[in-house]
Amino acid sequence: MSDVLRRIEIPIALTIIATLLQVIPYYFEIPALESTANTASNAVLIIVACATFVGVISILQVHGKRIQRQTEGWYYSLLVIGFTVIMSVTGLPIPEIGLSVNNTVYNWLFTNVQTPLGSTMYSILAFFITSAAFRAFRARNLESSIVLVAGTIMVMGNAPLITNYLPFIADIALWIRSYPNMATMRGVMIGAALGSIALAVRTLMGIERGYLRGGGEE
């Protein structure tokens, strides 16, 4: 029985059924199928939400091992696990005992810890991009010169200080955005759309199995 359940054909069949359940009602009016598809998509949202502890368990496994073996920097792992547990527990949907997304500790940690940390993590790239602009952005050949000139004009075009006194910079920046950039992104978008359709067809045919890899078996 276990051998039957292990067969790769089962998840492939599930993928095909789930895909067709969404696509067919869109093109053919079959009320029973449409209602089933709506319920199925709601069910999938619950299935996705159920995966919430996967990250927590992975964190506990990785950092737990570090603490156990007392590898270099193991004390930082104590912080990781500690805050994971605190946020997870205080956010549990049990308002009857004061735990929920409205819990004081949960909201305090979100507002005063996660908010500044999250914002700062992304903002630090400003420094790296500046350093890269100085050290690596070079007009070595025609193509890199085009990137350099277009990029620099775009940067200037986003600065009111420059566009106020040199309004033609704003016009050139708008032209670069509306024409070469638009052409590039339209080409990429159409190509990506065709690619995603091809990938979907391959998945429906059971040829594409990359998402099912792992576990040391096929």
Partner: protein
């Protein structure tokens, strides 16, 4: 009176920025806390959604309750990934989620990202009466978009043919200008984020005014500790 909340936020902000000087314990502390809080945060939101869903259509009838139970069992199968013998069960919820996602995108991607774009391209007139600049721009678009498409579609030996060499050159120059444009906007985004954090650190309204004092004090402590440590280590290990 010291506002612990503000000083905590400033501490973690500067902890992350301390990496700009070099790798250091302040950064490691901030990074570790961020990882823990970010992972734990999503748990509350996701479980709340499940509980709310039970309060809706899923508890409306016996059949729906049974369906909810089956859905929850499938949801629990995610955790089979942590067991080597049961790993194959993890593929079942994954297959359902991936299949639904593919179906959702597949049904309308042909319209929104393909047909609508091609229609817009086809509707771009080559010639605009009385507007030479727009005419030139439209002709450029009619040359650039197909060039970029052909550049991606045709690879291999066919690229060596003379017409494709011209197409390839046009496509590369177009894409280089496009990437330059993307770079310019990336600079805007990153600096906007940095400016937002700076407004917080300086206590500029509507941010709390306490933040400025916290910024000065904590920045001094962090910089002094890192520079002091470096000077101390330099003395201990003189350069050869």
């Amino acid at each position: 009176m010291v506002d612990i909340a503000v000083w905590t936020a400033v501490f973690f902000t500067l902890g992350i920025y301390s990496i700009l000087y070099r790798e250091n314990p302040w950064y490691r502390i901030a990074e570790s806390v961020y990882l823990g809080v970010a992972v734990g945060y999503a748990v509350g939101q996701d479980l709340k959604y499940i509980r709310d869903q039970w309060g809706g259509q899923w508890s409306s009838s016996g059949g729906m309750m049974l369906a909810f139970f089956i859905v929850m069992v499938i949801g629990v199968l995610w955790y089979a990934r942590f067991n080597k013998n049961l790993f194959y069960l993890y593929r079942w919820p994954l297959a359902i989620v991936v299949g639904t996602g593919i179906g959702m995108a597949l049904k309308t991607v042909i319209f929104s990202q393909f047909l609508d774009q091609i229609i817009s391209q086809a509707n771009t007139p080559f010639f605009v009466a009385g507007d030479l600049v727009q005419t030139i721009n439209n002709i450029l678009v009619q040359i650039m978009v197909p060039s970029v498409l052909l550049y991606f579609w045709f690879t291999g030996e066919i690229r060596d043919s003379p017409p494709m060499k011209v197409v390839e050159r046009i496509a590369r120059y177009t894409m280089m200008a496009g990437f330059g444009s993307a770079y310019g906007y990336t600079v805007l985004t990153r600096y906007s984020l940095f400016i937002g954090r700076s407004q917080f650190l300086l206590g500029i309204p509507p941010n709390p005014a306490d933040a400025r004092m916290a910024f000065y004090v904590i920045a001094f402590i962090m910089l002094a500790s890192m520079i002091g440590y470096d000077l101390f280590m330099k003395k201990e290990t003189p350069e050869e």
